[in-house]
């Protein structure tokens, strides 16, 4: 055994939150650079940093050892607090380690752990190695230390070592003397450790900052909480040799030699319970596909599809992915059996097999061209299927998964919440002792989209500190802290399901939500280890579509399925081409509404493009205009060569989708498959911590070499940057486009059902119930107010005319139970008085007052004021069988109460329901002459471009999209529709107050027009909010 090298066995990464000051990959790279034999990542009761360190050491001779550091919450009798590191010797030991971590984590609140000495005695840990960290002489006396050592030695001998660190702090000599003494007493060998908190000494300031934050103090007051020096780093070998006896160093290599577990050996073992006995997974999948084929193609499967299915099944078999498809099929089948609408998306989802299995509704016969990228054989990349479920019923699916596989075998993937600029600035500011109010001021002043963020200057400008040195430190610390993990949260719906106990594959801990558990790895970790997850996501539009289909079925008198929606309906496309898309899935945003008349979608595939084009990727890559020009024949469609043609033909030679960009990097810039895969990962990670610049050089030179022009190359690179974090692949767009079409078709042909379903699925989508109701009325749907004698909880369609009756749920704060009782206990002739209503529906005062405020008792109250007056009389005890006397129905009337004015009613409606069915407040103000020179949204449509105009409306949206530099979009609503206002940065800066605070905004500006799209370029803004307040008072003058 040579003392030439060394294995570091005690190393915190930044996954020991607010303690470790280096990323796992930094530690791994440093260990490699220093020539260590092995590196153990030993975070506190966690293995969350392991996959990243492992990925970083993929091509390195440095061995990664999986371990974890523990501090127990109690002590064996007479012993000091046990602190030790457990290292996984084999796969079995790894499982034991994960199990122990799970026990400790599941017992405590989110982010904490709690382990007792009994746990160590009762858990099986015979395949783990133990490094004991004896207490310092200042902490415990020799007796306690010895007792603790004896206890551990009893459990772990001969797999135990005493870990000795050299921190060069005061009292070290005594500590080392104690270690010698303990080793002698216990006959346990000593191994050197670095007690590493950072990969390099330069991180000491950050480590100090983290320590101060952990102790809820600042550096000034942190005092002895801080380490005395910065010695807890990965030391060069010569330094180690100087500090430690050779035997202690040699011992580290003995330990490392015993640890043979490698994270890469973790293999996903699929739950076997999905395959019926006597069948092979492949045979069963084939059988299910065959059954699906018969359902999907009752007249016989088209030849094309048949061969596609054959090809796909072959590939699935080859990659051994049958279980994955069977798992998803099982979940989807459950949803189907409960009538829960769902739709799969992702590269593998839009396959012929998935269509037959019912995972997607995208028919490969219609869009066969699309899905060449099914599963990549070249890269060992697991198939990717996300399944969206109705948002109100996804919980049922999740509960099913827990039932089917038990909590021992199913858990959610984690999402690592990382430091973002705001949180990093806040925390570093706190540690440096800056005034929190000033830090807030600084944060407010920073323009986050300003690429060249000159924080340093801004910090100096804000006088947070006059010392440029401190500003430099601040700047460096914030930049280093960015991307550091802060805590683990739950992934939106990525489940990991295992064959054996999940806790032997990866530790499981508690999430913030009750009854939710998450594993310690996130989706990138799972991917780098080749483990699979199933994404169970929630989508509001699916709830709305299911509800709309039910209403249509009710109207038709027979069940109407999503498959019954006729394809490629010209009326539907005509509607979308006008930009009439409020409420339609994905294309209802303002940007989409503007794009629709320009792109003029006329086929399903146009919708696929529509969904993907209004995204940062194509916008930053400046691909939108070229595509539109080519689509409308204003520019020739050409391809530099056939390889490029193959990639871009569907999109007229302009890259729109993420897949195309990556393929283009291969065919046009000569990236290898591996490099392209790196690019894809870097794109996914770019937003948080990735770096794309290394690819730029390669992309541009590669493309220039192959004869593409520099401008195109640069734009492609910009597009790649734009995709970062928001990657929108074609495979997802294809599934979404289907829902776009279905929801648009329902809106076009069954508007009442459409709005009713949308309103019943709130909250979802872009628009408030008020905006939806206004849009409904513009589409000639009659909307009726909530009424205790007509409404249910949900909104309903009444009678043959299909009038939309608002449900009692529109009344804010009303209890569901109360509303249900109003509906269920309603007498045949309806309620006749407030007291009858109160009695029969057993309503409490609060619900009664809310009903009065909503004016929902028109049958027996003169107006909401009088209704309210009646209710304020306190409940009389009602005798059970009291005769109903006529007095009961004689409403009390109070002379002194004023009649509500129209304005008052409008405001009261807004207060109670967030919307009004009476005249729009803007109509009232206009009538009163407050908006003399203002044009309405309707009038703007027929106004010429370039003309100075004035408009006014309720502010329903303020938006500063990332893709439009410095522009604020404001949406104003008046009685005729919406007005789009564009405010340039300079205008916004000068008129912050009205822009930020007005509820009713008046704008003087210039009309701009692009086809049917009308904008007002804002000049002068004024706040008219006071007019809303004064509505009732002024309107009274007119009565």
């Amino acid at each position: 055994m040579s003392a030439q090298s060394y294995a570091e066995l005690f190393c915190f990464s930044n996954f020991t939150f607010l303690t470790g000051a280096s990323h796992p990959h930094e530690l791994a790279e440093k260990a490699h650079e220093l020539g260590y034999t092995a590196l153990a990542i030993t975070d506190a009761c966690s293995v969350a940093g392991i996959p990243r360190a492992w990925a970083a050491l993929a091509n390195s001779p440095v061995k990664l050892i999986t371990g974890s550091w523990f501090e127990l919450s109690d002590t064996p009798t007479g012993a000091s607090t046990p602190r030790f590191i457990l290292l996984a010797r084999t796969r079995k030991g790894y499982g034991q380690l994960c199990q122990l971590i799970t026990t400790g984590r599941r017992r405590a609140e989110k982010g904490q752990y709690q382990l007792f000495y009994r746990d160590i005695e009762t858990h099986s840990l015979d395949d783990c190695l133990c490094l004991w960290l004896p207490p310092a002489p200042t902490e415990a006396d020799s007796d306690q230390a010895l007792t603790c050592g004896e206890w551990l030695a009893r459990l772990f001998d001969p797999r135990i070592w005493i870990a000795a660190a050299r921190t060069l702090e005061s009292g070290e000599e005594q500590h080392l003397a104690r270690i010698h003494w303990l080793a002698d007493q216990l006959r346990i060998p000593v191994a050197a450790v670095g007690e590493v908190h950072m990969h390099s000494r330069e991180r000491q300031p950050l480590q100090d900052v983290l320590t101060a934050l952990r102790n809820h103090t600042n550096l000034e007051n942190a005092g002895h909480c801080l380490f005395q020096n910065g010695e807890r780093y990965l030391r060069p070998l010569p330094v180690l040799k100087r500090l430690f006896p050779a035997t202690w160093l040699a011992e580290t290599l003995v330990i490392a030699g015993q640890c043979t577990f490698e994270p890469g050996s973790l293999r996903y073992e699929y739950p076997p319970d999905l395959v019926p006995e006597g069948e092979t997974p492949a045979g069963y999948l084939k059988r299910l596909t065959r059954e699906g084929e018969r359902r999907r193609y009752p007249e016989g499967t088209p030849l094309q599809v048949q061969s596609l299915i054959r090809k796909e099944l072959g590939l699935i078999s080859e990659m051994k992915y049958e279980h994955y498809f069977l798992t998803i099929h099982d979940i989807v089948a459950f949803a189907r059996s409960r009538g829960i609408l769902c739709q799969g998306r992702g590269s593998a989802a839009n396959s012929a097999v998935c269509y037959c299995l019912g995972i997607t509704e995208v028919n490969p016969a219609n869009v066969e061209l699309l899905f060449e990228r099914f599963i990549s054989k070249d890269r060992n990349e697991p198939p990717d299927i996300d399944v969206d479920f109705e948002h109100e019923r996804r919980e049922e699916v999740i509960q099913y998964i827990y039932r089917r596989y038990t909590r021992e075998r199913a858990a959610l993937a984690a999402t690592v919440i990382r430091y973002r600029p705001r949180s990093a600035i806040r925390d570093v500011g706190k540690a440096l002792g800056f005034d929190p109010a000033l830090v807030e001021q600084l944060l407010e002043g920073i323009d986050w989209r300003d690429k060249a963020t000159n924080w340093r200057q801004q910090i100096l400008d804000k006088k947070i500190t006059r010392n440029p040195k401190v500003a430099d430190q601040f700047f460096t610390l914030v930049n280093t802290l960015l991307g550091f993990p802060r805590h683990l949260s739950q992934h939106v719906g990525g489940f990991v399901i295992s064959a054996g106990p999940l806790a032997e594959l990866v530790p499981v801990e508690n999430a913030a939500m009750a009854d939710r558990t998450v594993i310690q790895w996130d989706k990138d970790d799972l991917e780098s280890l080749g483990l699979m997850k199933v994404d169970v996501l929630a989508l509001g539009m699916l709830s709305a579509i299911r509800k709309a289909l039910e209403l249509i079925s009710e109207q038709k008198g027979k069940t109407f399925h999503i498959q019954d929606v006729p394809q490629e309906d010209p009326d539907t496309y005509a509607m979308l081409q006008k930009g009439d898309s409020i409420g339609v899935f994905q294309v209802e945003s303002r940007a989409q509404i503007n794009m629709l008349p320009r792109l003029k979608p006329a086929t399903y595939y146009d919708l696929v493009i529509e969904v993907a084009i209004v995204r940062p990727g194509p916008i930053q890559g400046d691909m939108v205009h070229p595509y539109l020009r080519r689509k409308h024949g204003l520019e020739p469609v050409d391809y530099p060569n056939d390889a490029v043609r193959k990639v871009l033909e569907r999109t007229l030679g302009v890259p729109i989708f993420q897949e195309q960009v990556i393929k283009l990097a291969m065919v046009a810039a000569g990236f290898s498959a591996g490099e392209a895969d790196q690019l894809r990962r870097a794109m996914a990670a770019w937003k948080s911590h990735g770096d794309l610049t290394p690819f730029r050089e390669k992309l541009v030179t590669g493309m220039l070499e192959r004869g593409h022009d520099a401008d195109f190359a640069e734009r492609l690179y910009q597009q790649i940057c734009g995709f970062g974090g928001y990657g929108f692949p074609e495979s997802h767009a294809a599934s979404f486009a289907l829902l776009v079409y279905v929801s648009a078709w329902i809106k076009r042909h069954y508007p009442a059902a459409f709005y009713c379903a949308l309103l019943n699925s709130q909250p979802m989508g872009f628009y408030s119930p008020s905006q939806l109701v206004q849009d409904a009325r513009r589409h000639h749907v009659t909307v009726l107010p909530p009424d205790v004698n007509a409404s249910q909880w949900d909104h309903t369609l009444e009678g043959k005319e299909r009038h939309l009756r608002l449900g009692l749920r529109i009344i804010q704060g009303l209890s569901v139970n109360g509303a249900e009782r109003i509906h269920q206990n309603r007498p045949a002739g309806g309620y006749r008085s407030a007291s009858e209503l109160r009695r029969l529906a057993t309503l409490n005062q609060r619900d009664m007052e809310l009903l009065a405020g909503a004016n929902a008792m028109p049958a027996f109250t003169a107006n909401r004021h009088q209704a309210y007056w009646q209710l304020l009389d306190h409940e009389q005890p009602t005798e059970l069988f009291a005769e109903e006397v006529a007095v009961d129905y004689q409403p009390e009337y109070c002379q002194q109460l004023p009649e509500p004015s129209e304005g008052q009613n409008v405001l009261a409606d807004y207060a109670s329901q967030g919307l009004t069915l009476q005249r729009h407040p803007l109509a009232l103000l206009r009538e009163q002459g407050h908006l003399k020179f203002c044009l309405s949204a309707e009038q703007l449509k027929s106004t010429k471009a370039g003309i100075p105009v004035q408009v006014a409306g309720l502010v329903t949206g303020r938006q500063r999209p990332g893709s439009a530099s410095g522009v604020t979009f404001v949406t104003l609503e008046d009685e005729t529709g919406n007005v789009n206002v564009v405010v340039w940065l300079e205008t916004a800066r000068r008129q912050r107050k009205p822009l930020l605070t007005a509820r009713l905004l008046h704008v003087k500006g210039v009309l701009e027009r692009q086809g049917d799209i009308v904008h007002v370029m804002a000049g002068r803004l004024s706040d008219l909010s006071h007019l809303i307040q004064s509505l009732p008072v002024h309107s009274r003058n007119f009565h």
Partner: protein, 472 residues
């Protein structure tokens, strides 16, 4: 009774602004720093309102001045105003946090009519550079509502006042939130409409408390207010028939004055820790002496001892014609702390107090310092000489956690001029303090020099060797 109400819309702001040169936008934020609670007119004109989130306020006015709220400060400033108003009116009521009531019915005659009273108050406010809204009413609540609504007029006309009240919007009438919502839901907009409702119904359908509140505004129900008492300060003056030329001569009259002080303090059940002695001279400016005790005190003997020590140091510049003893600072009397059965700690504490007081009186406050350890790894910052603690308490840092340090730490490191004979321990590496510009990065050793002395030496990043202390 006629009441005048002063509403200070941004008292603390005014108070701060009067001493500020820069008159930019200024706001007071609540303790946690999230919300604006007061905004000055300049800030208001930029759209900032109280209740607004600080974030929004800052985005409206990026250069906003921000002051954190401090209740005690606000209370003190209000009390200052009360003291001022007390010059004019005897019956004053504090309405914290931002209002004062004064009964002015009796003043009208004194000043010759209401306009004169109004003008006096306004002028005083101007001189004091304070914004206040004035309201006049026949009940405290009426005056308050009118003032806070900014509808104050210089009139005592009952009908006129009633009309202003009636026209007052509900929101300005300071109903509790629930009552206000209910009244609004009944369609009522003004206080007058509420007055019109039948009172029986009002009590039954809304609440008896609401009716009571309305009646208090109208004056049909009594609304007694406790008058404010000005804080009592102790003042005793002695005038001398014969001028006194030596400090010794002051002691005799002082005995009497201090005895009265002790009596006064006993009556108040309070202590003091600071006395002021003003010695008036015939031709020159008076001599002012401040005498501090080391802790709360009330015994005349102890005061006298301190003053005697102080006077011994002081030679009179000119003869004294009168002497004033002033006490403005009163401390509530605490139960003697840490008293054990035998009363020994008490004695120790007392002895400590007495010693400190005497030393301070003799040498001056500044001359006396107390050493204490500081939690800092850097040796030069690991101790401090601070003001003497009034109480002996547990040390801030447990001794066991303190590192091994020499008893004698040099004022600054001295270059090491000789090679040590023996090395005892080290290196102990100290690296830190990067955040305050006092960064150290040193390796410390204990070494014996030729002379036999045990030195604490270090080597720094520039490889220089220094002695930093001596071990005993």
């Amino acid at each position: 009774m006629l009441w005048l109400y002063l509403h200070f819309p941004h008292l603390v702001l005014d108070h701060i602004r009067r001493t500020r040169e820069n008159q930019g936008a200024l706001v007071i934020v609540e303790g946690s720093g999230q919300k604006v609670i007061q905004a000055c007119p300049e800030a208001m004109s930029q759209g900032i309102r109280s209740g607004m989130r600080l974030k929004t306020a800052i985005s409206l006015a990026p250069d906003l001045g921000i002051v954190r709220a401090d209740e005690t400060q606000e209370a003190r400033i209000l009390e200052d105003q009360a003291r001022w108003l007390y010059r004019y009116a005897a019956h004053i009521v504090l309405v914290p946090p931002d209002g004062l009531l004064a009964e002015i019915g009796s003043l009208q005659k004194l000043y010759g009519g209401l306009p004169a009273v109004w003008q006096t108050v306004e002028q005083g406010l101007n001189e004091r550079q304070l914004n206040a809204w004035i309201g006049i009413g026949y009940t405290p609540l009426a005056a308050r509502l009118i003032a806070r609504a900014g509808k104050g007029e210089c009139t005592a006309d009952k009908g006129h006042i009633l009309r202003s009240l009636s026209q007052m919007p509900l929101l300005a009438a300071e109903f509790d939130e629930k009552a206000c919502t209910r009244l609004q839901r009944l369609g009522l907009n003004t206080l007058g409409e509420v007055f019109d409702l039948p009172s029986g119904e009002l009590a039954r359908r809304l609440s008896p408390e609401l009716l009571a509140y309305i009646q208090k505004i109208q004056g049909t129900r009594p609304d007694p207010r406790t008058p404010w008492q000005p804080p009592h300060s102790f003042r005793q003056q002695a005038d001398f028939v014969q001028e006194i030329e030596h400090t010794q001569g002051l002691l005799f009259p002082l005995q009497r004055m201090l005895a009265e002080l002790e009596e006064d303090l006993c009556w108040r059940q309070q202590d003091t820790d600071s006395l002021r002695l003003v010695l008036k001279h015939r031709h020159s400016e008076p001599t002012r002496l401040q005498i501090r005790t080391s802790g709360p005190e009330h015994r005349a003997d102890n005061f006298l001892n301190l003053i005697r020590l102080r006077l011994e140091q002081h030679s009179l510049s000119s003869p004294v014609i009168s002497m004033v003893l002033l006490v403005k600072r009163f401390l509530s009397r605490e139960a003697p702390a840490g008293q054990d059965l035998l009363g020994e700690t008490r004695d120790l504490n007392e002895a400590w107090h007495t010693l400190i007081s005497r030393l301070q009186a003799r040498l001056g406050d500044q001359a006396l310092r107390q050493l204490s350890p500081q939690a800092d790894h850097r040796p030069e910052r690991a101790w401090s000489a601070s003001e003497v603690l009034r109480k002996t308490g547990a040390p801030l840092i447990p001794a066991a956690e303190l590192p091994r340090r020499p008893l004698w730490l040099l004022k600054g490191p001295q270059p090491l001029t000789e090679a040590p004979v023996t090395w005892f321990s080290g290196p102990e590496r100290i690296s830190g303090g990067w955040w305050d510009g006092q960064r150290v990065h040193r390796d410390y050793y204990i070494a014996q020099l030729n002379s036999g002395q045990l030195a604490w030496v270090f080597r720094d990043a520039r490889e220089g060797w220094f002695v930093h202390g001596w071990f005993g």
